[in-house]
């Protein structure tokens, strides 16, 4: 099925990047924001005709101060926890109006953008519902690992050890005490056709995944790592570097789950997690012991991921992995 959907899929190269900018300049994101960078790339990769849905959050606020808008494509924001449900209504609305001949028949990609809080916490129910129902849309989680819009409070996507305003580095506990919720796995468990993780440092990989997600019939989920210099306390010139290190340390591996089959982008430049952690002041309180605990967890999780890939690979040949930047 996916093979059919992707038969005309052509990978982007640096020379074939689309000129269209669904999200234009002039928005009010913080200096060095990695999230708006990721958002722009996804929007660019998918392009018109599209209808964008935003959950409440940084990207919604910075792009839509009435009477201005940074959206050059039709865009709607309704609330925080319901962006997948709004997208459901848009998708069935378009389908029905096309079937009744009230609007011209054509492919309009419905894309939802939400943060990690809007996806993994308050929006998980509506997301799960929309995925289970099989709506043809792309859901993009722009994961900056905390509630940044409200002032850096922890979410279930905040990594272990990270300091936020509600998981402070205290005398008894040292930042976030829980491990990051594995949203891509939860999405894969919905048996949707396409799940992928991506990072803006690997911009071609990210844009190719976004394009695939749009072409594939049925629900697609993209989990996009989105550095937040303001919340993570790192230099405003470091978003891309941090986005690369998180992949090179195996903390945020890049992979796809295509019709249940895991395809992992192999890490050829493995680095210790400390390289990543030391750039961000949200981790500055971590002791060598805690860093060791994180290293062990990251190693184990990566092993698990490779096993998932292996388990599925026994029967077939290894498909080509995504080319990065």
């Amino acid at each position: 099925m996916i093979a059919e959907d992707l038969k005309d899929f052509k990978r982007f190269t640096p020379k074939t990047l689309p000129k269209e900018e669904p999200l234009v300049f002039g928005h009010r994101a913080c200096q060095g924001c990695g999230e708006v960078l990721a958002l722009r790339m996804v929007a660019k990769a998918i392009g018109s005709p599209m209808i964008a849905v935003s959950a409440t959050g940084c990207m919604e606020i910075i792009s839509s101060p009435y009477p201005q808008t940074a959206w050059a494509v039709p865009w709607i924001h309704v609330a925080f926890e319901n962006s997948a449900a709004v997208a459901s209504g848009i998708e069935v609305g378009l389908k029905t109006l096309m079937a009744k001949g009230r609007i011209p028949e054509r492919k309009i990609t419905v894309v939802t953008f939400a943060g990690d809080g809007g996806t993994a916490d308050i929006g998980l129910q509506s997301l799960s519902g929309a995925m289970e129902r099989g709506h043809d849309f792309v859901y993009v989680c722009l994961d900056n690992e905390a509630y940044m819009n409200t002032g850096i409070q922890r979410s279930s996507e905040t990594p272990f050890g990270a300091m936020t305003t509600t998981s402070p580095a205290g005398k008894i506990t040292a930042g976030q005490t829980t491990w990051k919720k594995n949203l891509p796995a939860i999405m894969a468990a919905h048996d949707i056709p396409y799940v992928a993780t991506a990072s803006p440092a690997y911009y071609l990989d990210l844009m190719n995944k976004a394009k695939k997600a749009a072409l594939i019939q049925g629900p697609a989920y993209l989990h996009v790592y989105s550095p937040c210099p303001t919340g993570w306390r790192h230099g405003t010139d470091l978003a891309v570097e941090v986005s690369r290190l998180v992949v090179e340390t195996n903390i945020f591996p890049l992979y796809e789950v295509i019709e249940g089959k895991y395809v992992v982008r192999k890490n050829t430049r493995l680095k210790p997690v400390e390289e990543y952690l030391k750039q961000q002041r949200r981790f500055s309180h971590l002791t060598p012991e805690l860093i060791q605990i994180i290293q062990k967890r990251v190693d184990a999780e990566y092993e698990k991921l490779l096993k998932l890939e292996g388990a599925k690979e026994e029967k077939k040949e290894e498909p080509p992995t995504e080319e990065g930047a």
């Binding site: 309704v78 609330a79 209504g89 069935v92 109006l97």
Partner: protein
């Protein structure tokens, strides 16, 4: 010629939704709304209604999906009740403020706790200030007709607001009543295909639901308020049009045996017909009692209301919800404040009754009417009285 036939009111409402040719129905089951959405899903499954039925995972998503569908220009419908409506609360404001002309049926049911599936108006009354047009049906025929009116009012370019049609859970939704189903051809004349003023269209991109700073927020709210108040005029036009096509008359406030009446019962919803029976009995005994019922609750039809109560000395207001820690119920509150600036005003006796499905019989209405008369005569200062409460 259309004929009247016995139908369960829920089924009749879903048939009206079918006649309205909706494009998208999104719904989550809750008693006593279920028969409406079950029947709609059957109509869709059989191809009798060309629409999408989205069986969402919560009422929050039901309204969210309806908003999404309306945003692309689809005629969208949902239905709920009680806790489901409470779960939608956040979105009620948003639907009106981003001007989504969708229609929702609420089969009125008490809000928990104690958990209770029976009828009162404590689910819809907390939604009073959400910017929706709100209509109340007193019987099955009205439930059908008002459903059709609702789409016309909502979609009028001067309104562009969501509309809720209230019908009492069980005591109206589940009874079999004689209903005249309008014919499709005439409905199509009355309610043509929805032509949205604005929609999410890749060829003409718009942003909906933007962030509003203090510089613009109040202006948006004022526009919604003006549209809501203006919807009364539109409703009047819609009802005039409906009358000419179908022969049934609708007004924002209806009067029953008010001529020469000193005391007027004031009701909303299906208890009205029981109250009418009580008025008949009291009139037979020579008591000067009449009734008005409020069909259009939001916007509140002040002019029509004052006209309807003209000459009455006493109002016995029947509220089926409580404004806790206040002066009684929402209808009483509305009426008292409306009358405040009038030099001559009737005595208002405010009763809170029928909560959680407690039966409101003919005798109870007679009791309220006669109590109201007595209290007025004695000049009793009353906030409100709860009717039928066991003290032991």
């Amino acid at each position: 010629m259309p004929t009247r036939k016995g139908m369960e009111v829920s089924i009749a409402v879903s048939e009206a939704v079918k006649l309205a040719n909706v494009d998208v129905i999104s719904a989550y089951p809750i008693t006593p709304q279920t028969h409406i959405v079950e029947h709609l899903s059957e109509l869709v499954a059989d191809g009798d209604l060309k629409a999408a039925f989205v069986p969402v995972e919560s009422e929050h998503s039901a309204l969210s999906a309806a908003i999404g569908a309306a945003a692309v220009g689809a005629r969208a419908y949902t239905a709920t009740s009680s806790q489901g409506l409470a779960l939608m609360h956040e979105l009620m404001f948003i639907a009106s403020s981003i001007r989504m002309p969708l229609v929702m049926t609420v089969t009125n049911r008490a809000i928990s706790a104690p958990i209770n599936i029976w009828n009162d108006l404590s689910d819809i009354m907390p939604q009073r200030d959400c910017g929706w047009v709100q209509l109340f049906a007193i019987n099955g025929q009205e439930a059908v007709d008002l459903t059709l009116h609702a789409f016309r009012i909502a979609e009028d370019p001067r309104v562009l607001l969501p509309v809720v049609v209230n019908l009492d859970g069980f005591i109206l939704s589940h009874v079999i009543e004689p209903v005249e189903m309008p014919d499709q051809a005439t409905v199509d004349r009355f309610l043509p295909v929805f032509k949205p003023v604005l929609r999410l269209d890749p060829d003409q991109p718009v942003s909906l639901g933007n962030f509003g700073s203090p510089d613009v927020f109040i202006e948006v709210k004022k526009q919604v308020e003006e549209a809501l108040i203006g919807s009364e005029k539109v409703a009047a036009e819609v009802w005039k049009d409906f009358e000419s096509l179908f022969g049934r008359t609708y007004k924002p406030v209806e009067s029953y045996k008010t001529k020469g009446a000193e005391t007027l019962l004031v009701t909303m919803g299906s208890i009205t017909e029981t109250a009418m029976t009580a008025v008949d009995a009291m009139r037979e005994k020579g008591q000067k009692v009449g009734l008005i019922h409020i069909r259009l609750w939001r916007p509140f039809p002040f002019k029509e209301f004052f006209q309807a109560i003209r000459g009455a000395k006493v109002l016995a207001v029947v509220d089926r919800a409580l404004v806790t820690g206040g002066v009684g119920g929402p209808v009483g509150l509305e009426i008292k404040s409306a009358l405040f600036e009038k030099k001559e005003r009737p005595y208002v006796a405010e009763f809170v009754a029928g909560l959680g499905g407690r039966d409101l019989t003919v005798e109870v209405f007679a009791e309220m009417a006669s109590k109201a008369g007595r209290y007025a005569k004695a000049g009793k200062e009353m906030h409100y009285e709860m009717i039928g409460v066991r003290e032991k």
